[in-house]
């Protein structure tokens, strides 16, 4: 059974086609990697899957619901870890979790149990009453993973979840996700620029470039198709080796500004 179905999905911004009639499916319980160079259309696709953007054309079914027509049902079906941190720094770990639980309509007893279970799972239970601004980058990421799982989603989206983390933390995060996938049969949909991670974790991969899906399959299938010996080589063969320059948006400038301000 497919938990995500994307049919002829298209997104135009003015005259620019960011996503150009793509089709793919993700099976229930699968760990699925969505790879592509910068500006290929990954984030735009994720935004459409997660109800933040409306498609120009095409159709999405997520857990049997349409994100445009039934955004509420879709929103309850997934959890998400964004590329940028999205925690409230002035609240504690526990308060961030609880806030999320209330937004998703969970009763107080269930919230308490679930928060304890998840914070123990990502090894942050001892730090539950610390303000998030005292957390390291890795701890924040783990907390975001826990928060994304709070409302028992069927799908967990992760947009470059391991960006800027040390190998130890990255390894931890993937271990949590693999365990979770096995224990609770959660579908994991992630993007990354670390090809080794995708190769190790993903059961199936889609490669997007210039708004089009250029290949889908297992690592072995992609290697076979391109006649290469690693996913990294296959990826470069599929998407070329020129560097992608994205023009900076106000959002990027703000991110830079933040880096200047914070430590």
């Amino acid at each position: 059974m497919n938990i995500i179905e994307v049919i002829d999905l298209n997104k135009k911004f003015g005259g620019f086609t960011a996503v150009d009639n793509i089709n793919f499916t993700v099976a229930k319980g699968e760990i699925f990697a969505f790879l592509g160079p910068n500006g290929a259309g990954k984030s735009t696709t994720i935004k459409m899957l997660t109800t933040l953007l409306h498609p120009t054309k095409g159709r999405i079914q997520l857990n049997g619901h349409d994100p445009v027509k039934d955004s509420s049902a879709v929103r309850k079906s997934f959890g998400i870890v964004f590329q940028d941190p999205s925690l409230d720094d002035e609240l504690t770990a526990y308060e961030n979790m609880d806030f999320h639980g209330v937004l998703y309509g969970m009763p107080v007893q269930l919230r308490r149990e679930r928060i304890e279970q998840l914070l123990k799972f990502v090894e942050l239970w001892d730090r539950r009453n610390n303000l998030v601004k005292e957390f390291s980058g890795g701890m924040k990421r783990r907390l975001e993973v826990a928060r994304g799982l709070m409302h028992h989603p069927k799908i967990l989206f992760l947009d470059e979840p391991t960006l800027g983390l040390d190998p130890q933390t990255r390894n931890h995060i993937w271990t949590y996700l693999k365990n979770l996938n096995q224990q609770e049969n959660i579908t994991v949909f992630f993007t990354t620029h670390y090809m080794a991670e995708a190769e190790q974790i993903a059961q199936r991969i889609a490669v997007i470039d210039h708004g089009k899906i250029v290949a889908t399959g297992t690592t072995a299938e992609l290697q076979q198709r391109t006649g290469t010996r690693s996913l990294e080589e296959a990826f470069l063969k599929l998407t070329g080796d020129t560097i992608r320059e994205e023009s900076s948006t106000p959002m990027d400038r703000m991110r830079m500004g933040r880096r200047m301000w914070r430590r």
Binding site: K47, S86, L87, P250, R258
Partner: protein, 256 residues
């Protein structure tokens, strides 16, 4: 249905609680926001006091204190409304936007939280002005003046939210402070009596919503009003509702 309504209230409550918690936890914000009103109160209150007295207008501190309370509220609430930009920058906004709640609830909860924080600041400034020598004429009207503070705060938090929804980053913030917040404050009659102004200025003052807020506070606290309390109340409520509607609409159009 009752359960559903309870949940809707709960969402608004948790968003409100978040704003209030953030405020109470950042001591620097509380102290920082009080420096300016204190300076205005002392420098102008005592500095212009003798001239005001000689012009036959009575005690300037009595006249000024409601204006300074209004100033604190407009500055804090527009800034609180514009916190949407920070939340967008720090990503927290996305967390609320992908949750299964309506944008109206998010906007309303935030606005209520921001307005509560601004009202708390207003109450603190009222307390400070009491220490500085301000004496309300009607003590029993003080609780009602807090209600007016909350309405002024809601009005300008909603305005701040509407503005923030249109801005991509904080660079436009300075522009808004200098060309909107400052004029709204200085042209509201917070510092000077509206009677006998040059005609052009009097007209501008009439179009400034804060004028009615300042006037209502004066009416409640020192029993002096220019427009009359009824007019003040009607204008404030109507404009607040209009800005809440504009704010919700702009907020519903935010893309992240």
């Amino acid at each position: 249905m009752a359960a559903l309504n309870f949940w809707l209230m709960k969402i608004i409550y948790i968003l409100w609680l978040r704003q209030v918690k953030r405020f109470l936890r950042s001591k620097s914000r509380i102290v920082g926001a009080l420096g300016q009103p204190l300076l205005f109160l002392l420098a102008f209150g005592y500095g212009f006091g003798p001239i005001f007295q000689r012009a036959g207008q009575g005690n300037y501190l009595e006249f000024l204190a409601p204006g300074i309370i209004a100033m604190t509220i407009i500055f804090t609430s527009i800034f609180n409304g514009m916190e949407v930009i920070w939340d967008r920058q720090f990503g927290f906004l996305k967390e609320t936007l992908v949750a299964p709640v309506s944008r109206f609830q998010i906007m309303f909860g935030r606005t209520l939280g921001g307005a509560t924080v601004a009202t708390l600041q207003g109450i603190i400034v009222l307390a400070i002005s009491l220490i500085a020598g301000f004496r309300p004429v009607n003590w029993w009207m003080v609780p009602w003046s807090v209600v007016i503070m909350l309405v002024i705060a809601l009005l300008f938090t909603a305005l701040g939210t509407a503005l923030a929804s249109q801005l991509a980053d904080m660079q436009g913030f300075q522009l808004i402070t200098n060309f909107l917040v400052m004029p709204l404050f200085f042209l509201s009659g917070a510092m000077f009596p509206i009677e006998g102004l040059p005609k052009a200025l009097a007209t501008i003052v009439k179009f400034d919503p804060l004028s009615y807020g300042v006037d209502a506070l004066r009416g409640m606290l020192i029993n002096v009003t220019h427009f009359g309390l009824h007019v003040d109340a009607i204008v404030l409520v109507v404009i607040t509702i209009a800005f809440l509607a504009i704010g919700s609409y702009s907020f519903s159009k935010i893309q992240v």
